[in-house]
Symmetry: C2
Subunit: 340 residues, 2 copies
Amino acid sequence: MRVRLEDVARAAGVSPKTVSRVLNEEAYVKDSTRKRVLAAMDSMNYRPSPSARGLAGSRSFLVAMLYDNNDNPASTYLAEIQDGVLDACDANRYSMMVCPLRMRGPDFIRRVDALISDHHVDGVVLTPPLTDHPPLLRRLREREVPYASVSPVNRSETIGVCMDDEHAAQALVSHLVQLGHRRIAHVLGIANHGATRWRLAGYKAALVAAGIPYDPDYVVQGEFMFGSGVAAARKLLALPEPPTAIFAANDDMAAGVMWAANECGMKVPRDLSVCGFDDTPLASQLWPPLSTVRQPAREMGKLAALQLMELLRGKGTGLLVQVPYSLQLRESTGKPPKHA
Amino acid sequence: MRVRLEDVARAAGVSPKTVSRVLNEEAYVKDSTRKRVLAAMDSMNYRPSPSARGLAGSRSFLVAMLYDNNDNPASTYLAEIQDGVLDACDANRYSMMVCPLRMRGPDFIRRVDALISDHHVDGVVLTPPLTDHPPLLRRLREREVPYASVSPVNRSETIGVCMDDEHAAQALVSHLVQLGHRRIAHVLGIANHGATRWRLAGYKAALVAAGIPYDPDYVVQGEFMFGSGVAAARKLLALPEPPTAIFAANDDMAAGVMWAANECGMKVPRDLSVCGFDDTPLASQLWPPLSTVRQPAREMGKLAALQLMELLRGKGTGLLVQVPYSLQLRESTGKPPKHA
DNA sequence: CTGAAAGCGCTAACAA
DNA sequence: TTGTTAGCGCTTTCAG
């Protein structure tokens, strides 16, 4: 029927325990023995049973990716991160579970608990805004479940992956300044996301660098969603002195801004420059194509998961790695209208 | 430490086996006993160990969602299906694994095998184009792994969920006809997807109904991806007698068509009507908003998974349920240009 | 460096 | 309708 560890042991002429040691890459196995066992495993096409391993041992070889189902950014961003996490799992013989959570839900922590004790998850990958949900982090620490974060706000004592959103945003807004814009507005993301703060900070920094005074009327709330971009732009464009450029905190909202501009007969970039952040597929599918910051989401998911696995191995401790950003300047940004 | 089945049994004054029976909703448990056990489980906050259940029993309470990582339609479509499958899992105490596969890869079947034997998956949800990959289906049947499909081509002996793509497409194209279009083109999807065939069939049916001759020059190959929509539209718009309306087999390609129209200075819908299929978020984010067919992807994922679970329960046999479509007529379609 | 014995928490097959 | 007895396939002790 099924090839068991015992069968491999017999074939290799060793005890089950030795096979187990090889399987788990433990030390103290003679090299020749290890090779013999490995060969037997291979020739018999042995696949350990995760259930048995989970039951007997302390590890499950399961990694869970947690995300917020409610306050989440564009699904395409999460989908890319998920692909990246899967890449890493694949490379390290881990399996992945995907766990949507409702951060605002009453039984939020209970669900997390259930998740952990049900499946003995070895570790967890957190995506924004879960990366900075204090009760969640506390619970994970209490239960000693290792985790890695994608773009956490609090970067001390956290492993995973991040990007320098602030400088990226600053560079993007500086580009607008260089094009000649002075009335530059910003559409914020959801309040509890780190990305929202950093991108705002970058926006402000660019203004300061250009000697442009900060005008609170030019900064309006958004929610990372298309519709909120539309609403924000309507507000901005109705201002007595409307901006000549709008920097939205993500691409979806930038798409909304462009939509609103179209709606009131403006032409991008002739009448209004628009830029976003993330470089989701949408960015290059809009007309005109959107100037934005490339955020390598899939790579980031993979790196976060790899750091987690590093930690799980017990060999290293895992790091918070930083990925580089790059500007994607396309056709949605141009010189401000002359008459402005 | 951990509350085990045995602890519950002791607390309820019954044998472990009886608790197991209650847990698995088996028959032949006196109602009063069942209630007592349930109460004990609840008060002790008992959570069965999936590892132990998987090891001892034949079930794992794990459902895998398989998708093709290579030839896949828009990731947003898959993400919605995934959410739907998760909804169903949640409601039935199943866990979900997400399994990207490379249909074209050399070790495709081996990976499927590994997946099944590693995790003892109870059942599988298939998404296009995996729904109709003969070797995969054969293997699943051989290994007696139940599966449910989302939009399978072959609808006999298959459970899951489907939609009447053909009539939907026909209705959409008929709408173009009613607006006065006669030169209507179609951008095909990836060849091995059922959706591609059905939507083409609907297109043809609408032409026949309108007495418009079929012109093969008006039907060009696409790949369900934005870029392929751009390429297809360029080809169509370069025709000596370009179409006045283009029906793309999905929204992403329709976005590409609109992009190409913009590129050559045409205005949608004044110079060209465009419509798509799926009603992904993108559809309402384009300018002008896209006329399309609403396909309730999340609902479909959920329904497919529910049918699978029905089958797993052994109570019913599972059905192939059909969800209704609805036209979303927006601003990307209008009357053909007068001079045309 | 290697092995023997004892479970992990549950369910299957049987019995009562 | 309920209980008893063996394992499921692995890892954990603890001895060699």
